[in-house]
């Protein structure tokens, strides 16, 4: 088994909620074993630079204290908070985040990419990796933070926005928040728009599957 430590950046006392991304990865990719934990005191998750700055030291502490022995560490957030810092703190450990995983996958699919997220600016990995392939960043009108996605109105607003993205010429929709994986909206957006949708949690899982495969290939 390939052992993964997954860090949630949205604090919850409900371990089932904390485990959701890890269980999705385990269900979709065999031979991966995911242990999940969340950082403390981050009830709104990360939806701007201020929350990100607060979260990074907590993310690095969780990684080094709980997951230093893992084959791979995931930061389950499209902003990739702390990913570079964990790489520096734990040089031998593979580390990735939802943003760079999704952006690399979207880049490889080809075509023009739109980001559907909860912030007014696309997460940094999408901007850095997609360059001029990025059509734009779309925040649904009623959504300002990850918990907003859990409401019916938030979900409807995401679907409406995806149709606008198609009309604007997006050929691939990259989800800009792992909260969109939590609500499992990628399949519905694909059905309604006919476009390829890249979910950052599923993309992180593919990166883990790649490294697990490389480790046992030869």
């Amino acid at each position: 088994m390939f052992e993964i430590g997954l860090i949630r950046v949205l604090t919850s006392d409900d371990q089932d909620f904390v485990d959701m991304h890890g269980r999705l990865i385990e269900r979709l990719y065999p031979n991966l074993n995911v242990t999940s934990a969340c950082i403390p005191d981050q009830r709104e998750g990360i939806h701007g630079p201020e929350q990100e700055a607060q979260a990074i030291p907590k993310i690095v502490a969780l990684a080094t204290e709980r997951f230093a022995h893992k084959d791979m560490i995931l930061v389950s957030c499209a902003e990739d908070p702390g990913v570079e810092q964990i790489r520096e703190a734990l040089p031998g450990v593979l580390v990735t985040g939802g943003g760079e995983s999704a952006a690399a996958m979207a880049l490889r699919i080809g075509g023009r990419v739109g980001v559907l997220g909860i912030t007014d600016v696309a997460p940094k990995a999408y901007i850095r990796l997609l360059g001029d392939r990025l059509v734009g960043n779309y925040r649904p009108e009623l959504v300002h933070s990850s918990p907003d996605l859990l409401t019916d109105a938030g979900r409807r607003s995401c679907i409406d926005t995806s149709l606008k993205m198609k009309a604007d010429g997006c050929e691939v929709i990259a989800l800009g928040c792992t909260g969109l994986a939590t609500i499992g909206i990628a399949g519905q957006i694909t059905q309604i728009t006919g476009l390829q949708v890249v979910d950052p949690v599923i993309a992180m899982g593919a990166c883990c599957a790649f490294h697990a495969a490389t480790a046992r290939a030869f």
Copy 2:
């Protein structure tokens, strides 16, 4: 099962040889079913623009005649010959190649990337996607085409070159030829250099695993 058609760009009458990349993908990633075929009259594979130009119409013909009904089509070559053309010919079908799959994965891993291949210039996807993260392209002295990799001297030359790449500051080694997957050298290079190695066939497999996971996620 997720059904994949894999195109080999090196002609062989030996179906076991033709099937090697597909069987590697099936072994490493469950729930994928790969059918492989090679293009005709391409005994040296592709190691330059002239062979690529000859191969592309044959690749597109094979894709449209044999694999149009598949969930995904792979062109098992780091140069990605015909990938764009198949996308145009078969708009509903997912298509990728060894080059763009490996380059996207190497980009996501982070750090400076060197390409170890059989050509004097890195395959186009590595140049396009890696930009200034690309340290350089390295061709082992004794290797000029894919069949050269099958000799002991060719293999030794690859190992020597990987050590030079490490000395030059490469942090990730992306293999620039799927013939290097055929000889299974990624594990050996990792052991000797301690660097992350991205094998384009294993990277294509991760992309298939991603799309298969997305299709059955929700």
